[in-house]
């Protein structure tokens, strides 16, 4: 009898420890706390490896280095949160995807806000995306779209503008090196003198000494308050634009009697769109400058204009087959619509536009669109920061990709990665 009680106490203690550690782990990961099946699954959750890579004890390696640092680094490491954040920043940036990145708390708030139509900073959707020049890959910081009514719009910012400098500091991109290499070629070809070359070099050096990273620049533009001065490249033109940053709330749906303007896919946009379609049957849907938003809102809006069933496709891995995206509810007779798009029509808005084209024979006017229709998973962290990971590329029903990728950039990046390893 005594043995049974001892065993029972032992089992109770063990169960307690397992539940306790599991609880802590789930709480830290921000998961649903009291789902038993997940709680038990978690114990084996970390050893997951991708099939195409040889097994590597990733967590063990990282943790070993962390312990070494904590024990031996010349000064005690006080800010572990900073350590975690910087790790995430490097880790996610290394994936080389424009939407895959880590966001500091303030940036995360601004980012999740933008998805809901609340723009901080200059009131614009900006993105640094690699593109190819004759001398190499550059990463211009581009205005994807401008929030209506925001300080950016009022100051005259336009879709497609490239931000070259902020408050006199240069946004780091390879263009400085391109400039230098071009000058070097001119010099060796005898087209310019050594004196002229040294002047160019000095100019570039001065600029590079006052340089800010693309990440910092993005942060300056999309969060924060106060005045900001920008040097903008628009085609061959260079403009100086100054403005005061502030919060701009953009109502997702505006209806003027004939055209329904969908300005973003923020909360409630789907239902509001559906309601206007039902009551006023507008003929024109204006998606210009719509930076996207929630996939669920897109589906709600589509349910009001398409038959139920597949409306587009997605590829979740470059090698995976296309998967159909469906709506479970729909209308019997799709509405006949004209859809206005432009370079600022981005992400989920692009998906929405092609779904209308393929499912309801809508005519797309304007364009091309931004070519940024990636499916993105978002992960919030307990310190208020978070990260986003691109999990797929949206395609239309026919299987044409809605993500524009420069094959040369991809090749250059692949080579660079290979060289780096």
């Amino acid at each position: 009898m005594k043995t049974i009680w001892t065993a029972l106490a032992f089992v109770a203690a063990c169960t307690g420890v397992i539940l306790g550690t599991g609880l802590r782990a789930r709480q830290e990961s921000g998961a649903n706390l009291f789902s038993t099946s997940e709680l038990l699954a978690l114990r084996s959750g970390n050893s997951q490896t991708s099939e195409d890579s040889p097994w590597f004890p990733a967590t063990a390696y990282y943790d070993q280095v962390r312990r070494i640092i904590e024990a031996e680094y010349v000064v005690p490491v006080v800010d572990k949160t900073n350590m975690a954040r910087t790790s995430l920043r490097y880790l996610l940036r290394s994936l080389g995807d424009p939407e895959t990145r880590y966001y500091e708390p303030e940036q995360w708030r601004a980012y999740t806000g933008r998805l809901q139509g609340v723009f901080e900073g200059i009131g614009a959707d900006v993105l640094a995306q690699e593109s190819m020049t004759p001398t190499g890959v550059v990463m211009p910081l581009r205005i994807i779209s401008v929030a209506p009514g925001g300080p950016g719009e009022q100051a005259g910012l336009k879709t497609g503008d490239i931000v070259e400098s902020i408050d006199g500091r240069w946004v780091a991109s390879r263009s400085l090196f391109d400039e230098l290499q071009k000058a070097s070629d001119s010099f060796t070809a005898g087209k310019i003198t050594r004196k002229r070359y040294d002047e160019i070099w000095q100019g570039i050096r001065d600029r590079s000494e006052r340089m800010m990273s693309v990440e910092e620049a993005t942060e300056q533009l999309q969060s924060g308050t106060g005045k900001i001065e920008m040097e903008i490249k628009r085609g061959a033109e260079t403009l100086q634009i100054g403005l005061t940053r502030m919060v701009t709330e953009v109502a997702p749906v505006v209806f003027d009697g004939t055209a329904i303007r969908l300005r973003n896919f923020g909360p409630g946009s789907g239902a509001e769109f559906a309601q206007i379609i039902e009551s006023d049957s507008p003929k024109v849907v204006d998606l210009r400058g719509n930076p996207g938003g929630s996939f669920e809102e897109v589906k709600k809006a589509l349910s009001a204009v398409l038959r139920k069933g597949a409306f587009a496709t997605v590829r979740n891995d470059p090698k995976a087959p296309l998967e159909k995206l469906r709506i479970d509810r729909g209308v019997d007779k799709p509405a006949k619509l004209t859809v206005l798009v432009d370079k600022g029509t981005a992400r989920e808005a692009e998906l929405f536009a092609v779904a209308l084209r393929d499912g309801a024979g809508a005519k797309l006017e304007g364009g091309p669109m931004a070519g940024l229709a990636r499916r993105v998973q978002r992960y919030a962290l307990p310190d208020g920061s978070g990260y986003a990971i691109t999990s797929g590329h949206y395609h239309d029903l026919e299987g044409a990709s809605l993500v524009r990728e420069d094959a040369k950039v991809k090749e250059a990046r692949r080579k660079a990665m290979e060289a780096a390893r």
């Binding site: 106490a9 109770a12 203690a13 307690g16 420890v17 397992i18 539940l19 306790g20 550690t21 802590r24 782990a25 709480q27 990961s29 706390l33 997951q48 991708s50 195409d52 890579s53 040889p54 097994w55 590597f56 990733a58 967590t59 990282y62 280095v65 640092i69 031996e72 680094y73 010349v74 572990k80 949160t81 350590m83 975690a84 790790s87 995430l88 920043r89 490097y90 880790l91 290394s94 994936l95 895959t100 001398t135 400085l176 090196f177 230098l180 290499q181 070097s184 010099f187 060796t188 070099w201 570039i204 050096r205 590829r315 979740n316 962290l381 307990p382 208020g384 990971i389 999990s391 797929g392």
Partner: protein, 418 residues
């Protein structure tokens, strides 16, 4: 014991287990158990702390990437990137991760030979300037010269490229060729060279006798790094110079990035007998004091000048600092780099290496030579301040008495003491 009591005890054990299990991470990470967090967990709330646990956070992000990321990424590469980020968070330029391939090359460099053309490069606006041509090297064979500026490697411009990147592109397999476009101040046209790569021995100490014919002979010793074999090279060259009857010495530490601390301490012993050269302080514990060996200074009393510049770092600063503090040498040139820290190489099982700053060292007078700057990058303290500050002429070639104005100044200072 009654059954009730037993049940109460069992329940108690269970609850204790939950609490213990919950708090285990805090205990294992050396912080106080977070009971407030447990309270929150019981209410189904997230951890109230705004802290992130690094390993946990990174492991989760990797799992997320594994399961959802569109594209390819191996766990190994991801781990290196995360570790690079962790090390970067320390904001110490000398703490870094060397991935296996890089670690291998680094090792190769320390063993004293590599495959290339045998030219040492320095920064230049146009690309990379040749600082020195190694004896009996392919570069010497094709008549490349110090101060030549490499503008293109295999037809590609290298202007604005990192020096490491440039030297990487010049190196390669034995027997292969590299094409260089070179700008030479005295030539009217860009010059083109094809150079066949082969194994080159690294020579770290160069000796020469300056003067003669009426002037007193003064030795010149350039010490390029503090590698494993440096001390025997140094002794050999010094003995050779002394046998030629030198009456003073200029030691050139310009561009010397340092290396083995023990070599610097031993080298100091050639001039300073049995004195504290430096003390090293790790995070915990007593300072470790390094004393120069006794019986090696051989009664040397001739005047010594040491040349330094902004790229003289670490072990070369320890040697120079000790020589300065004991008034054994006059220092000429530019303020040195200011690297007063000690790194340890930690080999990992996968072949990568972690280079970690584990200690700071101090000069005999107690000063730290670690460079300190304001947030704007302005100088506060650190490095070795030369007794005579001399800017280097743009066309100066180190060790060439005709063009090297810093060397001429050092020589004049030594001669004045004879």
């Amino acid at each position: 014991m009654t059954s009730t009591l037993k049940i109460v005890l069992a329940v108690g054990t269970f609850v204790g287990g939950v609490v213990g299990g919950y708090a285990w991470r805090d205990v294992s990470e050396g912080s106080a158990p977070n009971f407030a967090g447990l309270g929150a967990a019981m209410r189904g709330e997230p951890l109230p702390s705004a802290e992130l646990a690094p390993t946990r956070t990174v492991a989760e992000a990797m799992s997320a990437i594994d399961s959802v990321f569109y594209g390819n990424a191996t766990r190994q590469d991801l781990t290196y990137d995360a570790v690079a980020g962790m090390l970067a968070s320390l904001e110490d330029p000398h703490t870094m991760l060397m991935e296996p391939a890089l670690a291998e090359r680094f090792e190769e460099k320390n063993t004293g030979h590599y495959v290339g053309i045998g030219a040492e490069l320095s920064r230049d606006p146009l690309g990379a300037k040749i600082k020195r041509i190694f004896k009996n090297s392919p570069a010497q064979g094709v008549d490349l010269k110090p101060n030549d500026i490499v503008t293109h490697v295999d037809g590609k411009s290298v202007a604005g490229r990192d020096l490491l990147e440039v030297s990487e592109s010049i190196r390669g397999e034995t027997g292969t060729w590299v094409r260089l476009s070179v700008f030479r101040e005295t030539a009217t046209e860009p010059m083109k060279f094809s150079v066949k790569r082969r194994a080159v021995d690294i020579q770290d100490v160069y000796g020469a006798v300056l003067g003669g014919e009426g002037n007193a002979k003064v030795g010149y010793l350039e010490v390029r790094s503090f590698s494993e074999t440096i001390l025997s090279q140094f002794d050999e060259e010094l003995a050779s110079l002394e046998s030629k009857g030198i009456r003073g010495l200029v030691v050139d530490m310009r561009g010397n990035p340092g290396g083995l601390l023990s070599a610097a301490v031993d080298m100091s012993g050639r001039f300073i007998d049995g004195k504290v050269i430096t003390s090293m302080k790790m995070r915990n514990g007593q300072p470790e004091v390094f004393v120069s060996p006794s019986g090696w200074s051989d009664g040397r009393t001739y005047p010594v000048a040491i040349l330094i510049d902004e790229n003289s770092a670490s072990a070369s600063e320890i040697f120079t600092g000790a020589m300065k503090d004991y008034n054994r040498a006059t220092i000429v040139g530019k303020r040195s780099y200011g690297k007063g820290s000690v790194q340890r190489m930690l080999g990992m099982a996968d072949g990568s290496q972690i280079k970690l700053t584990i200690a700071r060292y101090y000069l005999p007078n107690g000063e730290s030579i670690q460079r300190r700057e304001t947030d704007e990058g302005e100088f506060i303290s650190g490095g070795i301040q030369p007794d005579f500050e001399v800017e280097k002429d743009r066309l100066a070639v180190n060790g060439d008495i005709n063009t090297d104005n810093q060397l001429r100044r050092a020589l004049a200072i030594v001669r004045a003491k004879l």
